[in-house]
Symmetry: C2
Subunit: 200 residues, 2 copies
């Protein structure tokens, strides 16, 4: 289910797409970006960079501006790397909306068309909805004596996913230019959150 590999690769491609950077800096940005959990270790970043170098997706920047005296290797995208980034960002399918990958795609949404963005957003939303349905269905069968904490965990989990579905709906509406709210999820009449996020 869902290649989780290449998570780092896409993220690196995306960050370098915004400008050259060296490994250490890359790691910091990566951790801030997908750091809502564990930190990325050097043990995975540097080998990944080497692999991308070998694959000619990135190249070392010749020390043009000597802004720092520190021995560090600055990387930049090659044409092949830029092409690969664009290819990956145009992908529409499970790979784009599975848990790990979705956040990264989203982070670089500015680099895609609205059409792609909508497909990915909607894909993710139905994925979450399916998940909700599955749990509800299975819950109906398994039901009997439910542990108090188990029930609370379940409740909180469902609530979180429902929240994300609402968030996605707001983003979808924003992309479409429709005034927020629709899609059968209310709870709050006015929500300042979901941002304008109108297209470029």
């Amino acid at each position: 289910m869902a290649r989780r590999g290449d998570t780092i690769e896409l993220a690196v491609l995306g960050l370098l797409h915004e400008g050259p950077m060296h490994g250490y800096e890359l790691r910091k940005r990566l951790n801030l970006m997908l750091g809502w959990g564990r930190l990325l270790s050097y043990g995975s970043l540097y080998p990944a960079l080497k692999k991308m170098l070998r694959g000619s997706l990135i190249s070392e920047v010749g020390a043009t501006a000597v802004t720092s005296r520190r021995q560090r290797i600055t990387y930049q995208l090659t044409d092949a790397g830029r092409a690969e980034f664009e290819r990956l960002m145009s992908e529409v399918g499970p790979a784009a909306w599975e848990d790990d990958n979705f956040d990264i795609r989203f982070r670089f949404f500015s680099s895609t068309d609205m059409e792609i963005r909508l497909r990915v957003l909607e894909g993710r939303r139905s994925r979450l909805q399916e998940r909700l349905d599955r749990v509800q269905r299975e819950l109906a069968m398994t039901q009997k004596e439910v542990d108090r904490y188990a029930a609370e965990l379940q409740r909180h989990g469902v609530e979180s996913v429902e929240r994300e579905v609402r968030w996605l709906s707001e983003l979808i509406n924003a992309e479409r230019g429709t005034p927020t709210d629709q899609t059968g999820s209310q709870t709050s009449p006015t929500r300042p959150s979901a941002a304008p996020v109108t297209n470029d």
Copy 2:
């Protein structure tokens, strides 16, 4: 230490603590339980069960009641397994409140004392608060031209974590028997949160 392996082990121990079960059933329950992401594969469950068998934490149940004609292996906890489960559940420390492990501990909270529960709940809360602070701090430094989608992702992430902090605060208050009351959730700028929580 900070092993994040044994995630399956604790979950299996916990489920078998509630009653004997066979592998297939175990997998279904596990997926419902921590299935808010990817599904556990047979390729990890069965080897894990074998390992636990070798370690004498579990044993095969002799076919006493022939309720089903199906060839299936029902497992149950041994005394050592029960002891190990209790030991793990009594652990207070990072291992107990890291992302993956927390949910599982929580799911089996009924098997522990209130004292332990409070320590774990508070530990998790300060962990999340730290995370929030770190992001806020780093955000203050990195700030400049922020991509629209990057900003929205950031915002949503912060909001989700803040939500979980509030949830934890409510649970802590409930444990203490106090009527619900916020401890310091909301958009506090910098708050190391209570929770002394000493440990390795």
